[in-house]
Every structure is written in structure tokens, then in C-alpha cells.
Amino acid sequence: MINMVKIAIDAMGGDYAPEAVIEGVEQARDLFEDTVFLLYGKREVINQHLKNRDRIQVINADEVITMEDEPVRAVRRKKNSSIVMAATAVKEGQADAFFSAGNSGAVLAAGLFIVGRIKGIDRPGLVTALPVVRNAKQSNFVMMDIGANADSKPVNLQQYAVLGTYYAERMMKAQSPRVALLNNGTEDDKGNKVHKAAFELLQQTADINFIGNVESRDLLNGVADVVVTDGFTGNAVLKSIEGTARSMLGLVKDAVYNTGVSGKLGGLLLKNGFNQIRSQMDYSQYGGAVLLGLKAPVVKAHGSSKATTIVNTIRQIRQMVATDIVPGVAAYYANQQANQQASVDKSVEND
């Protein structure tokens, strides 16, 4: 018998929940025959929308963590919420991964406090794939951390580099992924204290292919496969990429349509081109943001996710489970700690 992948899903999270989540789960169920879905939420509401229960188990969760709830407190108090119950199913081994489009802070807190960190990882970080444009050799890159931790120490950035390397190798099929540190210049001595120390540490880290500092303006050109940054900067950069792309497309559209009849005709001819640009820039095609460094995949999709993004995220989770990213990282850090212990023992012997 094939090994079934089991995904615990918060049916109540997101702007269009539970309808969009359920619709996406049903589409994914029809696409992926080796996957079982555990749907957590208000049973009667889910049942109203569910068309076919094949490989979908509904587990009643009376409480819902809303966007207004304070994350850590909500995760501690609302034990019967869909987020807490779904994360607990992963902790207890009933599911392989946890997925929600709900309250970001609560999803991160549930991942961190319920699913738990891999031994050796100080702080898990959020990773996402972003598009590379106008480069025949590369179609995307990963950036980490995009907002789990506002303050990062150099050692956190070093761990993001290792985690990002695993993600790029196994999810993007990048060979010996180029790791770069996002900085305010490309020279080796650029940046604040944390970045200068992180640069040194990354240079000394075996097992990663560190290529130095990169600037945010070069990211979409494919300057690296793994871009390492603290969560504060990563989040600001991600949002500025999103915002700039949207504004530029708007500007181009205005320019085309404001030039009278000829412009409108030209615009019609360009419509497919515009749509292509939009779909290339739409990073929800790669699924959600993954909180990497935990004992199981924990994935947060955008609050505005519709069924298609839910399906893409489930595809992404299946790939994460199939490529053993979490066991790979856990083995890497177990090995690191064993080596450290061995060198400590050796130095004691030599004393």
C-alpha cells in the first residue's frame, strides 16, 4: 500500500473561509490520490459546503482564532480552536503537516509552541519562493526570513542559510544553491553590526554555497538562489516588491489606455502580455510561506487565498513531505551536535 500523506487544515482561516478552503481541499483531493485531509472547524458549517467526503475527515473545533486575537494568548487559551487542534494533530503524529490561511501570528505561535522546533534550530523563519524575471536560467529564488522574527542574531541568519539551502535544493531543484546575504551594498564589509557578523559566520559555514552580499534591487534578476535576511527587512522588502510591481503595472496600463483610440486598440493587443506579467509576478503560484525549522511543515497561505492558492499550497506541502525536508534538516543538526560533542570529548581527552 502507498504511504498516504495526511495534512491537518484549518478550515476557518482566511478572508474567504471556510468556502474557499473547502473548495480548494476538494479540488486537491481529486488531483492527489495519495493525500488525506483532516479539516478542523465548525462541523455543521463545513458539512454545508462539503460536496464529497472521500479522503476528507471533518473534526469539530468549537472555537475560532480571529484576526483580532492576540496570537500567543489565543493559542494558549483557545484549546478548541481549529488552529490549535490542527497543530496538535501534527504534534501527536496524526498528521504530517499543518496548513492555515488564518491569523498569521497565531499560526506562527501554534507552529513554534505546539509543533515545536527541530533540535539545534534557535528560531524558525518564514520562507517563500519569489519569481526571477528575464533570466532564462532561473525562474525563482527563496527568501528567508520574511517576517517571523523582527530581531535576528547572526546565528539565526546562519541557520536560515542552511534551512533555505535545503528548501531550494529540494523544492526548486537548485544545484548547490547560491546563498547571499541581503545587505545595503555588495562589498564584504557592508551593513550594520549584525550583518557584518553574519557575513563572517556565513563565510565560515561549510555545506552552504555562500556568494556574499546582495542588494534588494537585484533580487528579481536571479542574483542568488537563497536570500538570507532578518524578518523585519525581509518583510519590508517583500512588500515593496509586491507594491512596486502593482504600481508599475497600473502606470503602464494608464499610459496605454489614456492615449485615445489607438492606445485602446494597442491595449487590447497587449492584454495577454499584461496577464502573463501578472501571473509571472504572482508568487501564490508557489503556495504559501513555510515556517521552516519546525518538526513538521507548517504553512501559512495569504489571508486572501482562494481555492487555487489552497490547491497550490497543498501541492507544495506534498512536495515538502515527499522530499523529506524536515528529516533532512533534523539529521543535519543532529550531526552538527554530535560533531561538536565529539570535538569537546576530544579536547577533554587531550587535556
Binding site: 500567543v72 494568548r73 494558549r76 513554534l112 509552541f113 528560531r123
Partner: protein
């Protein structure tokens, strides 16, 4: 469970979580100042206490716990109830 047993269990959790030698853990150790615990470390520690001793610790109570000794006293008092 005696206070000594509670202390030993807590010392073992701290040694594992904060990577210190268990023999160096004393009642006087301040979690935030001596172990450099940030808010995430602290919540994780409280959750592990809940799992280990089987009772829930409210946020209000948790905020008052600063030293290892205070944690031991708190758990002992809860178990006596």
C-alpha cells in the same frame, strides 16, 4: 512529589533548553537575566512545565515567575492543592 524532585525535574528542563550544565542550576537563577531567555523561550519553558507537571499555568501566574526558586515554589503549591 517533593520540592527536591520538582527542582531536579525543572533543572533538567533548563539544562536541556538553555544548554547549561544541570549542576550549575540553582534556585537563585533568574530566567531572563541569567539564562538570556526572551519571550519565546519563556513561553516554551512554561508550556514544557505544563506538560511535565500536568497542570495549566495561566499567563498572569507565569508573568510573576522570575527565578527557578519561584517556579519550584509555584509548582509545589499547585500540587498541594
Amino acid at each position: 512529589m517533593t520540592k527536591e524532585e520538582i527542582f531536579n525535574k525543572i533543572a533538567a528542563i533548563i539544562a536541556d533548553r538553555f544548554e547549561v550544565d544541570q549542576s550549575t542550576v540553582t534556585n537563585e537563577i533568574n530566567l531572563e537575566q541569567d539564562l538570556d531567555a526572551d519571550s519565546i523561550d519563556f513561553v516554551e519553558f512554561v508550556l514544557e512545565l505544563e506538560d511535565t507537571f500536568g497542570s495549566e499555568i495561566s499567563d498572569e501566574d507565569a508573568e510573576k515567575l522570575n527565578t527557578v526558586g519561584e517556579v519550584v515554589d509555584y509548582i509545589a503549591a499547585r500540587q498541594a492543592k
